[in-house]
């Protein structure tokens, strides 16, 4: 084993299970289960109708197998679609949150207790199928910002939800989006009114705890004219031998001159060294720059999951709108990731930037898949894409599939790609100056990812760097 290969294997830090009494509906999926979920959430009839429409469509669809990943068949009838802690607080009283849940999130670095809260960050904590706490709601309400679990929004802000839900990712968009539309349980809802710059970072932390369940959260963010919001999601799950399905949908809508910055630090359980267990992360994320001069920026740091399948994209409909995608994806052990973005240019003078950094170690397989589409009416559209891959060791792989579809001759497209290997020589050079092998690798990898990390909100940039350090620790000895 070379000194680099020896570095990858570090135990997953967030693999503990919370021993809590949960209500789990029996495994299986049918219309009754969907009615049950809708009933538990106290949903209006239109919501149930939408779910059933999605379900009936899903039955006619088949699982996509075009991604560059391999896994055994998923038994959708063996999954439980709803799990929730039995003792849930009343919505407006955070003090009643079960201490076990508080302790769980505290252990994950997400304090939800009043006195320990992260300053400047409002958090929605989702545990299995339900939101257990949302902080700073009252503070945000002073600015007219709505930040709440989506189940609450469906009851209390039905007009907004009905107006925008499914407008960016339709209920029949793809197999996993249809499944999500039928069974989604919780997730966050954000509305930022006209001209408001959201005073806090908004953040949702997703935790899977119960076994044999899937998590199907749905997030909807609407930034009204001239508003700004920065939102971050984090996630983790216990270590289990089984594979658990996580099929989320995220929809963003930016109206005229609005900006949405969406960051993800994804750290689902990746499975063990032999590839046993881990989360299947099959996610549909899309933003629509509906208004002129609007901007949506995706930043993702993907270190977890056994399999990742996600392409956060932007529909650049408004003239002069801007879409950005900054990604770091790490695959080690037997992890597989097929991830990238879609930039669809519709409006005039629309611009998109793609910066993707893939890091493969161990037996990891990392695929960048990206689509840049310039439609006929998109006069003067521009795209810049940069895809860099880094290989650590000689048993991993990096793959790049850029699709470019240009239908307007005024478009300007740039694409750069590189593949590099962390060399023994780079590590030796740093060690010769007095740095340990571990610090050397971490310095090289962080240097490689710098362009993406600088896009993260300050509070989380350090966390992301540490996370990367943890994922790769042990890959050099």
């Amino acid at each position: 084993m070379t000194s680099i290969e020896a570095h990858v294997q570090q135990p997953y830090k967030y693999g503990f299970v919370t021993d809590i009494e949960s209500e789990v509906v029996p495994a299986g999926l049918n219309e009754d289960v969907i009615r049950l979920i809708s009933d538990k959430k106290g949903e209006p009839a239109w919501m149930l109708a939408w779910r059933l429409k999605a379900y009936r469509n899903w039955l006619k669809m088949s699982e996509p197998h075009w991604p560059n990943v391999k896994y055994g068949p998923i038994d959708y009838q063996a999954i439980s679609y709803y799990a929730a802690p039995k003792k849930l607080p009343k919505l407006d009283s955070l003090d009643q949150v079960d201490p076990k849940l508080v302790a769980t999130f505290e252990k994950l670095g997400i304090p939800i207790e009043e006195q320990k809260r992260l300053s400047g960050v409002a958090v929605d904590a989702v545990f299995d199928s339900v939101s257990v706490a949302t902080t700073f709601q009252a503070e945000l309400a002073k600015y007219g910002v709505i930040f709440c679990p989506i189940s609450q929004a469906i009851r209390e802000h039905a007009d907004l939800v009905q107006k925008y839900l499914g407008t960016v990712v339709p209920y029949n968009d793809n197999f996993f989006a249809a499944l999500n539309s039928a069974v989604f349980t919780d997730g966050s809802f954000v509305y930022v009114p006209k001209g408001v710059r959201c005073p806090l970072e908004l953040s949702t932390y997703f935790r899977i705890n119960a076994s044999s369940t899937g998590q199907f959260e749905r997030t909807l963010i609407i930034a009204d004219e001239g508003s700004y919001v920065s939102y971050l999601e984090g996630c983790s799950a216990p270590m289990r031998d089984e594979n658990q399905l996580h099929a989320a949908v995220v929809e963003l809508v930016a109206l005229d001159r609005a900006t949405i910055k969406y960051s993800t630090i994804q750290n689902w359980y990746p499975g063990d060294e032999a590839g046993k267990g881990g989360i299947y992360n099959f996610v549909t994320k899309r933003g629509k720059c509906a208004g002129a001069n609007s901007k949506i920026s995706w930043t993702q740091v993907e270190t977890g999951s056994a399999i990742t399948w996600k392409y956060p994209g932007c529909i650049l409909q408004g003239d002069n709108s801007i879409g950005e995608f900054y990604s770091v994806a790490v695959t080690s052990h037997r992890q597989q990731a097929d991830t990238g973005t879609k930039m669809i240019h519709l409006g005039k003078n629309t611009r998109s930037t793609i910066v993707s950094k893939g890091i493969s170690a161990g037996h990891g397989q990392n695929t960048y898949r990206g689509l840049v589409k310039i439609m006929k009416g998109a006069e003067g559209a521009r795209n810049y894409s940069q895809c860099d891959s880094m290989l650590i060791g000689d048993k991993c792989g990096a793959h790049t599939f850029p699709y470019i579809d240009v239908r307007n001759s005024t478009a300007i497209m740039e694409h750069e790609a590189s593949t590099s290997k962390i060399g023994e020589d780079q590590i030796f050079y740093l060690r010769q100056r007095g740095l340990s092998a571990e610090d050397a690798v971490s310095m090289i990898v962080n240097g490689f990812c710098k362009e993406v990390f600088k896009e993260l909100p300050m509070e989380f940039a350090v966390e992301a760097q540490n996370l990367l350090g943890i994922s790769l620790e042990g890959s050099v000895g």
Partner: protein, 258 residues
């Protein structure tokens, strides 16, 4: 010539890389305050000797011993050697994209300081130190803001190596063909830098192909390495002799009596 305390003692050092024996029994003693030059033709083992002393993992030591300041050097990790004051100015400095030069050098210096039991320098103290050292090498300030060696010209890379040496203040500096790829002006700057860093308590170990460098860095001793062995040692006049007569004649002359 100064006769001080022994800094480095190499005895019958033998090393292989990828199954090929490159060092076949090297003997050398370096005292504090001395400048040694190692000369020799291509493939004689000069760079291997430098890499082996710094602890590059690609080389296997098959025989011999190296004592450094009274300790077994070969028993130490590369980073421990560095923290103990062994510095290698690379023949081909490695590029590390995205890693800021100042950040890297501050981390390195603080590792060394920690090892010595000295307090770590904060950003302000470090920058003051760096400003002072940069004058020695006439290094443009933007080199510090760039990634380590990334996009540096050949001359900038070599100057950056000596600049790092100035900041880290090693006890034993090994300069591996620092003159290669330098024009005459750059050579002068680098040599002046090296000379300014010379102190009674440290030693410099200069590996070079050509005598040219030794017009600027005056060695106390010159050793000729040939086929993995030191075949001749002498004073600075040996370098001139080599320049005039070439390695072949010297070596055949030396080897005949054997």
């Amino acid at each position: 010539m100064s006769v001080g305390n022994v800094l480095l003692e190499v005895k019958d050092l033998q090393a292989t890389v990828e199954g090929k024996t490159v060092l076949k029994g090297v003997n050398l003693t370096v005292n504090a305050g001395e400048v040694h030059a190692i000369m020799g033709p291509n493939g004689s083992g000069k760079s291997t000797l430098a890499q082996v002393l710094a602890g590059h993992p690609a080389y296997t030591i098959t025989a011999g011993a190296v004592r450094y300041r009274g300790r077994d050097l070969l028993d130490m990790d590369p980073e421990e050697r560095a923290r103990e004051g062994v510095f290698l100015a690379f023949q081909y400095p490695i590029e590390i994209p995205g890693v800021n030069t100042t950040y890297f050098l501050k981390a390195a210096l603080n590792e060394i300081r920690k090892h010595k039991g000295q307090p770590e320098l904060d950003a302000i103290e470090f920058l003051a130190l760096v400003k002072e050292k940069m004058k020695i090498l006439h290094l443009p300030e933007d080199c510090l803001k760039r990634s380590v060696n990334d996009g540096f010209s050949g001359g900038e890379k070599k100057r950056n190596e000596i600049f790092q040496m100035a900041v880290l203040e090693p006890k034993l500096a090994i300069l591996d063909e620092t003159d290669s790829g330098l024009d005459i002006d750059a050579l002068k700057v680098v040599s002046e830098g090296v000379n300014k860093l010379k102190r009674p308590d440290n030693a410099q170990f200069v590996i070079t192909h050509y005598q040219r460098l030794l017009n600027y860095i005056i060695p106390d001793f010159v050793h000729v390495l040939f086929d993995g062995r030191v075949v001749k040692s002498g004073g600075k006049e040996l370098a001139l002799e080599l320049e005039e007569r070439g390695y072949e004649s010297l070596v055949s002359h030396e080897l005949q009596p054997a």
